[in-house]
């Protein structure tokens, strides 16, 4: 068996940045809704799970927040943390990684481990957009692969939340591309072992992340309004020189075009996933 879990004590190495340098500035008290432009009090947003109470817009949340919303309290056990190398000697990559680590307190763009959701054991992986746009390099690829492998070994379902912007991490070049194959194959084995994978597409799920593991869910769910696609809307517009259709590449667009099973509000997500896990439980504890 792979050493996927860190040794006990099972503490996270993520450094929760406690400094709040801009404290007192209105930016930190209020936030403008990207969709309806309402000004919303941050404390209010925390209560609504970062969903605009005016228009239902789902703000992006961090992987840590997502984890908090999704798993049974105290049940998360992270995998051994991995850190990136710089296989292409891409100029400035190390510095970028270091900066992202400091800003997010994460080792790379993913939080992954085992957890219980409504009492059901799962492997859960959550991409964090704040870490270099949630792009998939060797670390994200390896962690997801370990996730599926662990799930096969222990006959567990996998749940992922993929909010990766550009998809691939170009600083790792071909190694980043190959993570698409690696994660797809890991899921392929998991699928062939008859196990459940619920893929949740959060804003934005694009590029190599969308074109690999995230598209291979038995059930694919999205949050309302999430941007979902392979090529980014700007590049599509530039290439085709056509006006993009209204709602192009939104979750609603994907649902209409047959690419999603359902769209679920953040507040109902845990309930939906919990029910789906229940209905796929192998011991038939329905």
């Amino acid at each position: 068996m792979l050493r996927v879990f860190r040794n006990r004590p099972k503490f996270a190495t993520v450094k929760v940045n406690k400094e709040q340098p801009k404290k007192g500035l209105p930016d930190n008290l209020w936030k403008r809704c990207d969709q309806c432009a309402s000004m919303i009090y941050n404390k209010e947003l925390a209560k609504t799970l970062n969903v605009c109470s005016e228009c239902g817009y789902h703000f992006r949340i961090s992987a840590k927040e997502r984890l908090g919303l999704m798993v049974d309290e105290g049940s998360f056990e992270p995998f051994v943390p991995l850190v990136s190398k710089n296989p292409l000697n891409f100029p400035g990559y190390e510095a970028k990684i270091e900066k992202a680590r400091e800003e997010t307190g994460l080792d790379d763009a993913i939080i992954i481990g085992t957890a219980k959701i409504n009492g059901f054991s799962t492997v859960i992986g959550i991409i964090d957009f704040s870490f270099m746009g949630g792009s998939m390099g060797s670390v994200v690829g390896e962690q997801l692969t370990r996730g599926f492998e662990y799930a096969i070994e222990h006959q567990l379902p996998v749940v992922t939340f993929s909010g990766g912007g550009g998809g691939a991490r170009m600083h790792e070049g071909i190694f980043s591309l190959m993570q698409m194959a690696k994660t797809s194959q890991a899921r392929g084995k998991h699928h062939r072992a008859g196990l459940l994978y619920i893929s949740v597409l959060t804003h934005p799920t694009m590029g190599g992340i969308y074109a690999s593991f995230a598209s291979l869910g038995d059930i694919i769910i999205a949050e309302p309004g999430a941007l979902i696609g392979f090529a980014g809307p700007r590049i599509v517009e530039e290439t085709t020189r056509q006006k993009l259709p209204t709602g192009f590449q939104t979750a609603e667009f994907a649902l209409e075009n047959g690419m999603l099973d359902l769209i679920v509000n953040r507040s109902e997500m845990k309930d939906y996933i919990g029910r789906l896990l229940t209905y796929h439980a192998r011991d038939e504890v329905v």
């Binding site: 860190r6 503490f11 190495t13 450094k15 929760v16 709040q20 801009k22 930190n28 941050n42 925390a46 949340i61 840590k64 927040e65 908090g68 309290e73 105290g74 998360f76 943390p81 991995l82 850190v83 190398k85 710089n86 292409l88 100029p91 997010t104 939080i111 957009f129 704040s130 746009g133 670390v139 691939a168 170009m170 790792e172 070049g173 071909i174 190694f175 591309l177 190959m178 194959a181 690696k182 194959q185 392929g188 699928h191 590029g207 190599g208 074109a211 690999s212 995230a214 598209s215 291979l216 979902i228 392979f230 090529a231 590049i235 290439t239 085709t240 259709p245 590449q249 075009n257 047959g258």
Partner: protein, 346 residues
Amino acid sequence: MSSSFEWEKPLIELEERIKELKDFIVEQNIDFSAELGELERKADELRKSIYERLTPWQRVLMARHPKRPTTLDYIKMLFDDFIELKGDRTYRDDKAIVGGIGIFNGEPVTVVGHQKGRDTKENIARNFGLPHPEGYRKALRLMKQAEKFGRPIITLIDVVGAYPGIEAEQRGQGLVIAECIEQMSFLRVPILCVITGEGGSGGALAIGVGDRVLMLEHAWYSVISPEMCANILWKDSSRASESASLLKLTPTDLMKFKMIDDVVTEPLGGAHRDHEVTAAQLRASMKRHLAILKKIPIEQLVEQRLERYRQIGHFQEKIITETLSNINNFNDIDSELDCEVDEANE
């Protein structure tokens, strides 16, 4: 696009001079063979030195040469017979991907490959070799047919990247690329992939998962095209020659990284200078690799294929030195912090 590059100019000039001289000699009936031999030796040296020192960006341009053989050109040269099979049985026959049954070395194989146009009209019909979802679905259909009948699969890859088009997105190219990658990985027949020209991102990988990956000398393969990389790094596509170097997209780099298994030498000056010689070189490499693959029991072959990709990645386990904080204590997380991070990333 002209059919000769800036860097070829001195060579082309010299070649023309030699030709003139030859014509003169024939006309005058003089014996000048020694001098002529010397000149041709010099031209050879010049050729070698030019093509050995090609920058990665020049290589990308070579891979895009309008006279470079396309998939259908290779199919004609590599196979003794070929029956094209069309359609995805779902939506459309995508002309940007061609496929069918070919006879390679006396044996039926399934071939699929990206098909660029050989002139403007064909390029429009074939969308410059940029597939829509139905193209990938056709490829997958034919590959599964190959699996049913135990035929080896040969893929010929030549695409700048996935197509950033409205309909391609609407019909789910991300999803179908994922399906291709996943299903190819488990096919119970030998798969030989050849990057003949451009190997751009998901568009290439969608038919690029195999037991052996061969690459022509002046082909490139990367997670992103140099132009798009430059666009992201410096908001300036014209700096593609710089990003091409950063991306390590040449066969030499990729051999070093163990991402490919063989580099197929092209005629001096590139495949477009001699299609037949290029095809002969490629055929020899394909033959050699296919012979090896066919000897491996199928279970083992699929296992090896999966293991090949399983091993790809550069990372290390983190040495834990920082203060530990319990990640399960969610209440510690201040949502205000994340707002900052978001802003930093816009």
